[in-house]
Symmetry: C2
Subunit: 421 residues, 2 copies
C-alpha cells in the first residue's frame, strides 16, 4: 500500500510553521506497513488544492490531506472537496452535538454559527468524528483510491489518525504481519554506530530491515520485520520471536552505547533506575546552566528522586553553595577535574542527595583559552564512596554544546547507577 | 516570481527527520519577494526525482531541490540531473582543491575517491561553491526556468542559499523594493493579538501586509511592504520610512505585549536590560526545574549578569537553601503566594543578586488538588525593595506548562526591569 501526504495551508508555504505533522504521519503509516511515496504542500486556493489532490492521487493509492478545515474564510479544503467529489453538504446534528459537548467540556462559550458551519459536511464522505476539536475528518473513495481529509492542528490530526484513520486503513487493507523493535543509543554518531554493526546489518535476512534515526547525540535503531512467507495463525508470533532474537543480537553488539528500548528517554531511564534503587539525585551545573535539571524534571513524578539542584555559574556560587575551595579555583580554574570533583562532592551535602552530578565547561562562543578550548567540558558523578570524572571536547556551537553535555552527563549517571563504570 | 521546493530523500518519507529546511527557505525567499507556490518530497529513486522535478517545474519558475548530493550510493540526485539536462560530468580541479582545503581546516583525513567523486560535476550547470561541506550546489536553466540543486544538510544548504542562491536570484530577477519589520509579542495567543489590532490591519494599504507567526506563548508580527509605484532612486528609502511609521503605530497598540524587535529573544532582551542596568540576576525554581536558568544561560556572555540559580524541588531545599519558613510551607503549601515571595527574597541573599525570580507551581500531570489544579503557577520578582507576585493557570500538559511558565516569568522580569510593573 502506498500513500501520499498533502499539506494544505499558506502558513506552510511562507515558512510560518515547520511541518511536523507529515513526519509523524509517515512514521505511523510506516509502522502499519504503508509506504509513503510522496509528500506535498499547497496553498489555500481552490485550484492549488485540486491540482495537489490530483497530483497526489497520481502517485499513490491513499491520499491523506491535512489543513484548511477551520470555520474561517481562509479554510476552503472542505468546499473544494465537495466540488471535486460532486457532493451536497448536509447538516449533521450528531456532529453539532459533539462539538457543543466539546465546548462545554473545555468551558468555552459556543459560537453557534461557526459550530453550525462545522457540522455541515459532504453527503458522500464517511465522517470521522473529532473528539478534541471542531473539524471532523472526511473519508472519500473513488476509483479504488482513498482520500482522507484531516484538520492540521497536530493533536487533532494525531487523535483522528490513531482513533479513526489507522484502524480503518488496517481493516480495509489488511497487511501481512509486521513487527518493529527499537533500541536507543547515546554518545556516538550514526557513522560510528553503523560501522560497528555493519556485519550484523549485512547478515539480516531480506525481510528484516534496519533503520537509523539520528538526533544530536542520539541514534535510534529500528528493526522492522515483514512476514515473508504464507500467512498462518502463528506467523505473527514467529516473526515477533525472530525480531526479539535480532534485537538481542544487536544489543549484544553495542552494550556500551544502548541506553534503552522503544520510546523511553535517557532522563526517563535515569529516573527509573533512581526510583528502583531508592536513591536521591541532584545536580551542580555550571556551563549547562540548569539544562540537566530541566531534562530530569521534564519527567512526571521526578520529585520522588530529585530534591533540587544548584546552578553555580560564578566562582562565588561554586565556593559558597558547593564548598569548592578557593585554592582549587585559583590553581586549576573552574573548568578542571579538581573543581568538578569538589562540586560533585559538595552538591551531595548541599542538596542532601545520595548521588550527585557536577558539570563545568566552556560552552562558547567566547571564553576559550589555548589549553582550555571552547567545547571543553568536565563532568563528575559522586556517591560519597567514589567520584568518577570525565572530560569531553565538543564543538563550537553554544546550544549544541549544552545539549550534548546534557546527554553525555545523563548517560554517565546511568552507567554509574548500573555499576558499568 | 514563483518557486517550488523539492526535498529529495527517503529519510523524509519515512519520517526519520522533520524537514526544517523548507520552512527556512520559504522565509528567506519570501523576504526576497519570491513566492513559494508549492513544496514536495520524493524518495531517492531516479523515476521519483524525474517526476518530482517535472511536477515542480509545472507549478513555478524556479525549482529548488535539496538532498541526495552525498558521495554514497543512496545519493542519486546528481546522476539524475545529469541525465535530465543531457550533461556530461567533468572533473573540476578547483572544486577538488576546495574540498581538500575544507578537510584540512576541520582536521579530517581526505578520502580521495569520495572527494574525486564530489568534484565530478555536470558541464551544463553553473557550480555553486560549498565552503562548509563536500557537495557543490548546481544551477541549471532550461526554457526560461531555473533549477537549483543544494545539499540537504541544513547548515550547508543555508550557506549556499545565503552566499550563492539568493544573491544570484536577486541579480537575475531584480525585484521591486521590499521592506520587512518584525515585532515580537509574548503571553497572549494569536486570536487575542489579532482582535486588538484588527482596525490597524484593516487600515493597512494594499501594498503592506501583516503576517502572524505564532509559537507557544509567543506571536511574531511581520509587516512586509512592497513598493507599489514606479521605482525611482528614493523608492526604497520612502518605503522604509513608511514601514517604520507603521511599525511605530503597531507598537503603540500593543505596548504591554511587545517585548522586542526582529530576532531578539525574550532571554536576550532580559540579558540586555540587566547588562544596561548593571544588575545581577538569579532564579529560584521549583516546577520549572531549571528551565528559566537554562534559557538565561543559552545567551552568550550571560555569566556577566547571572551568577547562578537554585532549583528547589523539595520542601527541604526551599527551606534550607532559600530560607522559606516551615510555617509558611505548612500553612500555605509550596505553591502559594507566600512561599514564592519567601523564595524570591531568600534567593537574593543565597545567590547574592540584585534581582531574583522565584517560581512554584504544579506542572502536572499529577499533583493537582481541588483548590490547586494542575497548571497553577505562582511567580515572584524581588529587588529587595519590592516583591511582585503573579498567579497563572496554564493547561494540563507538563512540557507546555514548563515552557509557558518560562516565557511568562521572563516577561515579568523584563517589565520589572523596565519599571512597567
Amino acid at each position: 500500500m502506498t500513500a501520499h501526504l498533502l499539506t494544505i495551508g499558506d502558513e506552510i508555504l511562507i515558512g510560518q510553521i515547520v511541518d511536523t505533522n507529515s513526519a509523524w504521519m509517515s512514521r505511523q503509516l510506516n509502522l502499519g506497513g504503508i509506504t509513503v511515496v510522496g509528500k506535498s504542500s499547497v496553498g489555500d486556493t481552490r485550484q492549488a488544492i485540486i491540482d495537489g489532490v490530483q497530483h497526489a492521487a497520481s502517485t499513490a493509492q491513499i491520499v491523506i490531506m491535512t489543513g484548511g478545515l477551520g470555520p474561517t474564510k481562509d479554510d476552503i479544503t472542505k468546499a473544494t472537496l465537495v466540488e471535486m467529489f460532486d457532493c451536497q453538504v448536509v447538516f449533521h446534528q450528531s456532529v453539532y452535538d459533539q462539538i457543543a459537548a466539546y465546548f462545554q467540556k473545555i468551558n468555552r462559550p459556543i459560537q453557534v454559527e461557526s459550530v453550525q458551519s462545522q457540522a455541515m459536511l459532504p453527503d458522500k464522505a464517511t465522517i470521522l468524528p473529532n473528539k478534541v476539536g471542531t473539524a471532523s475528518g472526511m473519508w472519500f473513495e473513488r476509483d479504488g483510491k482513498v482520500f482522507i481529509s484531516l484538520p492540521g492542528v497536530p493533536f487533532e490530526m494525531e487523535h483522528l489518525m490513531n482513533h479513526e484513520v489507522l484502524p480503518r486503513l488496517k481493516a480495509q487493507f489488511p497487511s501481512r504481519p509486521i513487527v518493529h523493535r527499537t533500541l536507543q543509543t547515546a554518545c556516538e554518531g550514526e557513522s560510528v554506530v553503523a560501522k560497528r554493526i555493519e556485519a550484523f546489518e549485512d547478515s539480516l535476512p531480506e525481510h528484516i530491515k534496519l533503520a537509523y534515526l539520528p538526533a544530536l547525540g542520539l541514534v535510534r535503531l529500528r528493526l522492522t520485520g515483514n512476514w515473508p512467507g504464507e500467512v498462518t495463525s502463528d506467523s505473527a508470533a514467529r516473526l515477533t520471536a525472530e525480531l526479539d532474537k535480532k534485537k538481542a543480537e544487536l544489543r549484544a553488539l553495542l552494550p556500551d552505547l544502548i541506553f534503552g528500548e522503544e520510546d523511553e528517554s535517557l532522563q526517563e531511564v535515569v529516573g527509573r533506575l533512581l526510583r528502583q534503587q531508592g536513591k536521591q539525585f541532584g545536580t551542580a551545573e555550571s556551563c549547562t546552566g540548569g539544562y540537566v535539571a530541566h531534562l530530569i524534571t521534564l519527567v512526571p513524578g521526578s520529585s520522588d528522586y530529585f530534591p533540587g539542584s544548584v546552578v553555580s555559574y560564578s566562582y562565588e556560587m561554586k565556593s559558597k553553595l558547593l564548598g569548592v575551595k578557593d585554592s582549587t579555583l585559583s590553581s586549576f580554574g573552574a573548568v578542571s577535574a579538581e573543581a568538578v570533583c569538589e562540586m560533585a562532592e559538595g552538591a551531595r551535602g548541599t542538596l542532601g542527595v545520595d548521588i550527585s552530578l557536577a558539570i563545568s565547561g566552556i560552552a562558547g562562543p567566547g571564553g576559550g583559552m589555548p589549553d582550555k578550548p571552547v567545547g571543553l567540558v568536565w563532568m563528575a558523578v559522586s556517591d560519597g564512596q567514589r567520584t568518577l570524572v570525565a572530560k569531553h571536547i565538543f564543538g563550537r556551537d553554544r546550544a549544541k554544546n549544552i545539549h550534548l553535555t546534557g546527554i553525555f552527563a545523563l548517560n554517565m549517571v546511568r552507567k554509574f547507577l548500573l555499576g558499568e563504570i
